[in-house]
C-alpha cells in the first residue's frame, strides 16, 4: 500500500471530514466499536450503509439530459482508412450512416505537437477524459507498464459530482489485454477523485468476480483458497489508490453473474478481441443503464506487428460494433432519441512512405497527431458538410460537458468544445 495518494493527503478535506464524522456518529450510535482494522481502512471503509457518496448525493442533482456514448476509436487510426475517402472507408456505418445521414464530422482534429505530448493510447484516452494535454509518466517504473494517473478530473468525475449518478451508470468498457487502462476511472485531483469514479467493465473485472465467487465456496481447500486469495489480492491491488478495494457492487455482481450464466467461465465462449467490448456494451445498456459510457476499442493497434490487414480489419470490426450498439440504442425506448454518439480516435498513425508497414504512432510523426471526430444524436447539428476548421482532441471533454450540462472547470478552455456540433 502506498502513501503517496494525493487525493487523501489533504486531511482536512471537507467531504472526508464529513464522512468520517458521519461514520463515527453512526457507529457510536449503533453501539459498535470498529476495532481490529488499521487506520487506513478506517478512513475509507465506512460503517454499514454509509457510503461516502451518499452524503454528497443529497446535494447532487438528478440527471435528465441525454446519454452519451463515447467511442474511443483506438488503438490509433488514420484518416486515410476511415474518413478521407467515402469509397475507400473501412468503417462504412460510421461514415455513411452516422456522418452522412445524421451527424457531423470534424475532419481536422489535432493532438498538440508540443514536447512531452505523446501520441499513444493511454495518453490519448486521458486527453479525451480530462480535456487537457499533459505529459504523462509511468508511475510504476516498470518497462512497458504505461501506468498513468490523471492530474485533473475526468469527465466521469465532473458528471458524477454534478449529478446523482451511481457508479455503475458511469461506465468505461475496456479491452482484455490493457490492464493499465483499467485505472483511468478517476483522477488525483483533491476535489474529485475516487468518490466520483467510474466503473470499468472488462474481462479483467470478470476474472476478479470469478475469483471472489470461488472464494465464497466453503468446499475450497485451504491451500487453494490461499492461492486464490493471493491471486485476487494481486488483481485488486493493482489499483492501489483505492484503499477500500471496493471493486464490486450488487449491480455489477448481477451483471457478471448473468454474463457467466450465458457465456460460462472458460473465456472461450464469449466474443473475443474488440467484439467483446461491443458485447459488454450492449449488455450494459440493457442491465446497467449507463448514462455516460466510454468504450475503449483497441485492436487496430495490432498493425504494429506487420500485416496491414490487422488494421483495416480491426477498423471494420469496430464499425460493426458501433452499428450493433447503435441498433441496441434505437431498440430501447429510454435510449432512443436520447443518446449522443461521439467517436474519436485516441491517436493517429504514421503515414511513412519509407516503410512497408507504415502504421506506427510512437514517434510523434505528423500523421499520428492528425485525427477526427464524429458526433451524432439528438441536439447534434447535421450540416451535411464536414467541419474543416482545426480543433483539438481535448475539446471532446468540454463537448461532453456541454451535452450533459456539467461544468468542466479544469479542461483547457482555449480548446473550445467543438462548437459546430451545437449550431
Amino acid at each position: 500500500m502506498q502513501d503517496n495518494n494525493s487525493w487523501h493527503l489533504p486531511a482536512l478535506d471537507r467531504r472526508q471530514f464529513m464522512h468520517r464524522v458521519a461514520a463515527g456518529v453512526g457507529a457510536l450510535s449503533a453501539g459498535l466499536l470498529v476495532s481490529g482494522q488499521n487506520a487506513a481502512q478506517q478512513r475509507h471503509v465506512t460503517a454499514a450503509g454509509s457510503n461516502p457518496e451518499d452524503a454528497d448525493a443529497i446535494a447532487r442533482l438528478p440527471y435528465k439530459g441525454p446519454n452519451v456514448i463515447l467511442v474511443r476509436f483506438g488503438g490509433g487510426v488514420r484518416r486515410q482508412e476511415t474518413i478521407d475517402w467515402p469509397e475507400k472507408t473501412h468503417c462504412p456505418f460510421i461514415y455513411h450512416e452516422l456522418v452522412e445521414k445524421q451527424g457531423i464530422l470534424f475532419k481536422d482534429l489535432d493532438i498538440a505537437s508540443t514536447p512531452g505530448i505523446d501520441t499513444s493510447h493511454g495518453q490519448g484516452t486521458l486527453y479525451l477524459l480530462t480535456g487537457r494535454f499533459d505529459h504523462y509518466e509511468d508511475i510504476s517504473h516498470k518497462p512497458f507498464a504505461d501506468r498513468f494517473e490523471a492530474k485533473v478530473p475526468t469527465i466521469f468525475e465532473y458528471f458524477r459530482k454534478r449529478y446523482d449518478i451511481p457508479e455503475h451508470q458511469a461506465l468505461i468498457i475496456n479491452g482484455e489485454d490493457r490492464i493499465n487502462e483499467e485505472f483511468y476511472t478517476f483522477s488525483n485531483h483533491h476535489l474529485y477523485g475516487v468518490r466520483y469514479r467510474s466503473t470499468v467493465l472488462s474481462l479483467y473485472r470478470f476474472k476478479s468476480y470469478l475469483l471472489r465467487e470461488e472464494l465464497k465456496s466453503p468446499a475450497l481447500a485451504d491451500r487453494e483458497r490461499a492461492e486464490k486469495t493471493k491471486q485476487l489480492e494481486d488483481m485488486v491491488n493493482k489499483d492501489y489508490r483505492v484503499e477500500d478495494r471496493r471493486v464490486a457492487s450488487p449491480e455489477l455482481d448481477r451483471f457478471w453473474a448473468e454474463w457467466r450464466d450465458y457465456y460460462g467461465e472458460s473465456g472461450l465462449v464469449n466474443p473475443r478481441g474488440d467484439r467483446v467490448l461491443t458485447a459488454l456494451a450492449v449488455r450494459a445498456l440493457k442491465q446497467l443503464r449507463p448514462r455516460l459510457l466510454m468504450i475503449n476499442y483497441q485492436d487496430p493497434d495490432y498493425v504494429h506487428w506487420g500485416n496491414p490487414h490487422f488494421y483495416t480489419r480491426a477498423i471494420s470490426i469496430i464499425d460493426e460494433g458501433v452499428r450493433e450498439i447503435y441498433q441496441a440504442v434505437q431498440g430501447d425506448p429510454e435510449y432512443r432519441n436520447n443518446t449522443v454518439f461521439l467517436i474519436v480516435p485516441d491517436c493517429g498513425r504514421n503515414n511513412n512512405r519509407c516503410m512497408s508497414v507504415a502504421y506506427q504512432h510512437h514517434f510523434n510523426s505528423k500523421s499520428a497527431h492528425q485525427i477526427f471526430a464524429v458526433a451524432a444524436g439528438p441536439g447534434i447539428a447535421h450540416p451535411r458538410v464536414a467541419v474543416d476548421r482545426q480543433h483539438q482532441q481535448i475539446a471532446v471533454a468540454a463537448a461532453v460537458g456541454k451535452i450533459m450540462q456539467f461544468p468542466t472547470e479544469h479542461v483547457d478552455s482555449a480548446a473550445g468544445c467543438l462548437a459546430e456540433m451545437f449550431a
Binding site: L268, N352, R353, S356
Partner: protein
C-alpha cells in the same frame, strides 16, 4: 731447384658470397615483383579498392528484387577474397615464400586463387611460364561466372543450415500475430513457442556456419561446407577466437540494424520528406539505401577478414595437434598445405572428443549450462542477485571440485581446456541470441515482410534493399 711453398689457403666462407637476384623476375619474400614506384602502387591500390567497393555497393543495392540476384555475386566475390586471404596468410608463414611469390604459388594450384579477385573480367595476369610447380594448367574463367557460381553455392549451403530457423521464425511471427489478433487462446502458445524454436534452430546453426563458410570458400567446394568433423575440430581449436568472431558479427550488425530501421523516422517527421512527392521520396530512399549498402560492404570485408584469419590459424592448430585424420582433410586443402610445406603427418584415425563441443557429451553439458543459466535468471527475478549467484554456485561447485582434483592428477590442463570451451560456447549462444534479438527489435519497429526474418545480411544475402513495395512502387 727449389720448389716454391704452396701458400695456405683458408676455406672460402660461403656467407661472403653475394646474393644473386633471380633473373627470371620472381620475387622472394619481402621483395617486390615490379619495380614500380610506391606512389604508383599506392594509387593503383586505392583506385582498385575504390572500384571494388563501388561495385560491391551497387551489387548490394540497385533495383527491387534485382539486388538479391546481384548480391549473389558479392557472396561469391567475398568467398574468393577469403580464399585468397587465407592462402596468403599461409604463404607468408611458409618457407615457400622464400622461393615463390604469392601469385606464382597460386598459379601452381589446381584451382584459380587470387588475393585480389575481380568482379567481371579474368583474374590477375596470365600464367607465368616460370611457374614450373604447376601440375596442370588452371582454367581461367571469367570472374563474373566464378562469383556467381561460388556465391550461389555459398548461399545454398548457408541456407541449408540457417534457413530452417529463419523459416520457423517467420512462421511464428506471421502465425503468432494472426492468432493473437483473432484471439485464438486455444493456440496461444504456438506462436511464442515456435518463435523460440526458430531462434534456437538459428543459433544452433550459427554455432557452425561461420567457420563452415570459410572452409567452403577456401576449398572452393560446396560439399566441404558439410565436413562436420573437420569444421567442428576447427571451432574447438580456437573457441575463444570463434566466440570473438561471433561478437564481431553481432556488433557489426548493430549499426546495420539501426540503418535498416531508421526510415521509421524519415517521412512524416521531417519536412524534406513529408513535402516531397512519391518520386522524390523514392529517390531519397534509394540514395539512403545505397549509402547503407556501401557501409554494408565495408562491414562485410571486416567480418570476413576476421573469419579468414581465424580459419587460417585454426587449421594450422588442428594439424599441429593431430586432431584430424588424413582422410578428414579436404583434397584441396591437402594440396595447398603440402605445397606450402605446412602439412605435418596426420593420424590415420582422428582422436575422439568424448566431451568436446562437437560430441554428444559436450552438447548435453552445454545445454545443461544454458538451462542452469536460465534458472539463475529466474532466481534473480524472484530472489534478486543472491538467488542468481546461489544457483550458479550450486552448479559450479562440482565442476570446481573436479578441477581441483584434476590438479592433483595432472589433468588440470585438460579440465581447464574443457571448461574454457564450455564458457566459450555458453557465450557463443548468448552472442548469437543478441544477434537474433536485434532482428526482433528491428522488426517490431519497422517490419519488413518476409525478408526481415529470412535474410540476415551479414550471414546470407548481403543485400540492403528495403524499398517498400506498394507505397512508392507499383505493386
Amino acid at each position: 731447384m727449389k720448389i716454391p711453398a704452396i701458400p695456405e689457403v683458408s676455406p672460402a666462407d660461403s656467407g661472403d658470397l653475394p646474393e644473386v637476384i633471380p633473373v627470371d623476375g620472381r620475387a622472394c619474400k619481402g621483395q617486390v615483383a615490379g619495380k614500380r614506384p610506391w606512389t604508383i602502387r599506392f594509387l593503383s591500390g586505392v583506385v582498385g579498392w575504390l572500384w571494388r567497393w563501388l561495385a560491391g555497393t551497387v551489387l548490394c543495392f540497385n533495383f527491387i528484387f534485382v539486388s538479391y540476384l546481384t548480391s549473389i555475386l558479392v557472396v561469391g566475390w567475398l568467398y574468393r577474397w577469403m580464399q585468397g586471404r587465407v592462402l596468403y596468410g599461409w604463404w607468408k608463414r611458409s618457407t615457400v615464400a622464400d622461393r615463390l611469390s604469392f601469385e606464382e604459388f597460386c598459379t601452381g594450384l589446381d584451382m584459380p586463387v587470387t588475393s585480389r579477385p575481380r568482379w567481371c573480367l579474368r583474374d590477375g595476369p596470365a600464367k607465368s611460364p616460370a611457374s614450373s610447380l604447376s601440375t596442370k594448367p588452371t582454367a581461367r574463367r571469367l570472374a563474373l561466372w566464378l562469383n556467381l557460381r561460388i556465391g550461389f553455392q555459398g548461399l545454398l549451403c548457408t541456407y541449408a543450415l540457417t534457413g530452417w530457423g529463419c523459416l520457423v521464425m517467420l512462421f511464428s511471427w506471421e502465425f503468432g500475430w494472426l492468432n493473437s489478433f483473432n484471439k485464438g487462446y486455444e493456440q496461444a502458445p504456438v506462436g511464442p513457442l515456435t518463435g523460440l524454436a526458430g531462434i534456437f534452430l538459428f543459433i544452433t546453426a550459427m554455432f557452425y556456419v561461420p567457420m563452415a563458410q570459410v572452409h567452403q570458400a577456401v576449398t572452393g567446394d560446396a560439399r566441404a561446407f558439410f565436413d562436420f568433423r573437420f569444421v567442428w575440430r576447427l571451432i574447438q581449436a580456437r573457441p575463444l577466437a570463434y566466440t570473438g568472431l561471433a561478437a564481431v558479427t553481432t556488433l557489426a550488425s548493430l549499426p546495420l540494424t539501426v540503418l535498416k530501421t531508421a526510415p521509421v523516422a524519415f517521412d512524416d517527421h521531417f519536412d524534406l520528406w513529408s513535402q516531397a512527392s512519391d518520386a522524390e521520396v523514392l529517390r531519397y530512399l534509394r540514395y539512403y539505401f545505397l549509402g547503407c549498402a556501401a557501409f554494408l560492404f565495408l562491414t562485410l570485408l571486416v567480418v570476413r577478414l576476421v573469419a579468414s584469419r581465424l580459419y587460417q590459424r585454426a587449421v594450422l592448430r588442428v594439424l599441429a595437434r593431430g586432431w584430424v585424420a588424413e582422410a578428414d582433410l579436404h583434397p584441396t586443402l591437402n594440396q595447398m598445405l603440402k605445397r606450402l610445406e605446412l602439412r605435418p603427418a596426420l593420424p590415420e584415425v582422428a582422436p575422439r572428443f568424448a566431451w568436446g563441443a562437437g560430441a554428444l557429451g559436450g552438447w548435453m553439458i552445454g545445454a545443461a549450462d544454458q538451462v542452469v543459466f536460465l534458472i539463475a535468471l529466474a532466481a534473480a527475478l524472484v530472489a534478486g542477485p543472491v538467488g542468481f549467484l546461489l544457483v550458479l554456485a550450486v552448479w559450479g561447485a562440482p565442476w570446481l571440485f573436479l578441477w581441483l582434483v584434476g590438479l592433483f592428477r595432472h589433468q588440470d590442463k585438460l579440465i581447464g581446456e574443457f571448461n574454457l570451451r564450455r564458457l566459450a560456447f555458453a557465450l557463443l549462444f548468448w552472442i548469437w541470441f543478441a544477434f537474433v534479438a536485434q532482428v526482433y527489435v528491428s522488426e517490431f519497429l519497422n517490419h519488413h515482410p518476409v525478408v526481415g526474418f529470412l535474410n540476415h545480411m551479414l550471414v546470407q544475402f548481403p543485400c540492403f534493399d528495403f524499398v517498400p513495395l506498394g507505397t512508392l512502387t507499383p505493386p
